[in-house]
């Protein structure tokens, strides 16, 4: 077993520690930026839904501004966003490099995409349910939590899966520039030193992460779909 591993991945054995640290760094970026982006995405997605025409808190100007802002940020390529956000990142987290420095661009790069996904998930909630809740005297806040969010848990999980997987891609890129993470690891050894097996091992680790996201998400979806 160990022999097989050494033949297949000759350069990896000596870097197991570094692989482990890189994995942790990627997970750190995923969880922190993912968590923050999730919160912002839900808030913005909900805001879009309730302020749009016919929404329970219809508001043309709030919707218009938010809608355009999201479109603008969505159209900026992530690599450019990384560079552009360096001063802002310094201001917010005190650094623009390393895994912590990557958090701000990761959040900014993920939130617009995720907000749209949340918006589309919530827009699938039957208007009749909102109407019924209103007829029972629910407040706008009550409708947001007890109807919109509660009824779209399966679709919210689904869009979170998609966003989390694309976030893995972004962390790889962010790592390459700021240092740290699996992307950085693969580029330094696999690409720059031609140790292709290192690249392959990172692919394996990332595939594992993706499948955990997919399996876990699907489990929740199954449990919450009736």
């Amino acid at each position: 077993m160990a022999d097989l591993f050494n033949t297949l991945f000759p350069h990896v054995a000596s870097k197991l520690d570094e692989l482990w640290i890189s994995t942790l760094q990627t997970l750190y970026m995923m969880f922190v930026s993912g968590g923050i982006a999730f919160l912002f995405g839900i808030i913005l997605g909900v805001t879009l839904i309730v302020t749009k025409q016919g929404g329970i808190l219809e508001n043309k100007s709030v919707f218009g501004i938010l809608d355009r802002l999201i479109n603008v940020f969505r159209s900026i390529p992530f690599v450019i966003l990384l560079a552009a956000l360096i001063p802002f990142s310094r201001f917010i987290v005190g650094t623009a490099i390393g895994t912590t420095g990557a958090i701000v661009p990761l959040v900014v790069g993920t939130v617009p995409f995720f907000s749209r996904q949340v918006e589309s998930a919530l827009s699938n909630v039957d208007n009749g349910l909102v109407e019924a809740a209103m007829s029972m005297g629910s407040s706008p806040l009550g409708i947001i939590f007890r109807v919109y969010l509660k009824e779209s848990i399966p679709s919210l999980v689904r869009v979170s899966q998609i966003t989390a997987i694309s976030l893995i891609g972004l962390t790889a890129m962010a790592g390459a520039i700021g240092g740290g993470g699996l992307g950085d690891f693969a580029i330094r050894y696999g690409h720059q030193r031609g140790q292709t097996d290192v690249t392959y091992i990172t692919i394996v680790v990332i595939l594992l992460m993706v499948s955990v996201i997919q399996k876990g998400g699907n489990y929740i979806i199954r449990k919450t779909t009736h």
């Binding site: 039957d126 009749g128 109407e131 209103m134 007829s135 029972m136 005297g137 109807v147 009824e151 848990i153």
Partner: protein, 345 residues
């Protein structure tokens, strides 16, 4: 009493405005079952949504059962007032992610009621609609009729004084429609709850409503007791609705679908006689045929219950000498029978 005064609602869409409800004034008495009938797009849903102010009228006022002027309330007070007006819908609008019990609990929670009290009340309501065995099922596991009964239980949870039903039976088969209407009738009798029924089916009105209003293009064109409207529809649209719900309208089809049956000889008339009350018809017709020496070949006769009062009708071919037939019809029309000559021979 619910009182709508000069209620209008205009929708703006892409710069085009559309008056869905136009100057409607209406009084619905406490404890009655009131029907609002109209074709699709007439503005029925908009009108009923104006009653609990899901739609804010741009003109007019709405006063609810307890004398509260809903149009003058703050958003918070309006939400409390809405809890006193139950509503059920054509597509039931149950929350798919919640069990039947949780759906019924929905209006009770976040109201400062203890959890086990909520459950108890929800169970009582489910028992009332005969569905306690389904308490832990999800809506997707229920039939349409069962879903509507859950929706009724949910609407009753906050002990409303009014129940609004927007096409509540339109998605159900006739048998289930009958059951749901029966349940509504019972609740009306037991709880004294005022019920407003929106429908495009006169059969529903005929079955359950004591009074009815007819809505056409956002206007109220006719209203009155269901019996009066049925026995004596004034507007064209009302006549169409009545005919659609009445077996006696089959006469029309008789003469067009089976021309041979109604193959009239010169002097013969194809007539429809309608009258109120049961048992009036036969003696009158036999009296008429004897007295004027005419014969009546009866093709169809029926007595229908309209809101529990009978309306009778006879369709047939009247023959005899021209003058005799004319006199016979004048005679019978004088006996408070509505005479329609559908075809002349």
């Amino acid at each position: 009493m619910i009182k709508l005064e000069h209620v209008s609602k205009t929708f703006e869409r892409d710069g085009v405005s559309f008056k869905a409800v136009d100057d409607v004034s209406l009084e619905i008495k406490k404890g009655e079952i009131f029907g609002i009938i109209g074709f699709s797009g007439a503005g029925k849903s908009t009108l009923v949504r104006c009653i609990n102010l899901l739609e804010i009228p741009d003109k007019g006022s709405v006063v609810s059962v307890d004398g509260l002027n809903l149009t003058a309330l703050s958003p918070k007070d309006l939400r409390d007032a809405r809890a006193g007006i139950g509503m059920i819908f054509q597509h039931f609008n149950l929350m798919p992610s919640r069990t039947v019990l949780e759906n019924v609990i929905y209006p009770l929670s976040h109201k400062g009621i203890k959890k086990d009290e909520q459950r108890k009340r929800a169970f009582e309501l489910l028992k009332r609609v005969d569905l306690e065995s389904k308490a832990n099922s999800y809506p997707s596991e229920l039939s349409g009729g069962q879903k509507q009964r859950v929706a009724i239980a949910r609407a009753l949870a906050s002990s409303p004084k009014v129940l609004l039903c927007d096409e509540a039976t339109s998605a159900l088969d006739p048998q289930t429609t009958h059951e749901i209407l029966g349940l509504l009738k019972e609740l009306n009798a037991e709880l004294g709850i005022t019920i407003v029924i929106i429908t495009h089916e006169m059969a529903v009105v005929k079955d359950i409503c004591s009074r009815v209003a007819v809505l056409e293009n956002g206007h109220l064109v006719e209203q009155g007791s269901t019996f009066e409207v049925f026995a004596n529809p004034k507007e064209n649209i009302t006549q169409n609705f009545v005919k659609a719900a009445s077996n006696l309208s089959k006469a029309e089809h008789l003469s067009s679908d089976y021309p041979l049956i109604c193959d009239l000889k010169p002097g013969e008339k194809f007539v429809r006689l309608s009258y109120r009350g049961p048992g009036v018809s036969e003696p009158l017709i036999s009296l008429m045929t004897h007295r004027f020496n005419v014969t009546m070949n009866i093709l169809y006769a029926d007595v229908e219950l309209v809101n529990n009062s009978p309306i009778g009708g006879t369709v047939g071919i009247l023959s005899g000498r021209y003058e005799d037939v004319e006199n016979a019809l004048i005679y019978i029309a004088g006996k408070n029978v509505n005479v329609e000559v559908l075809k002349n021979g």
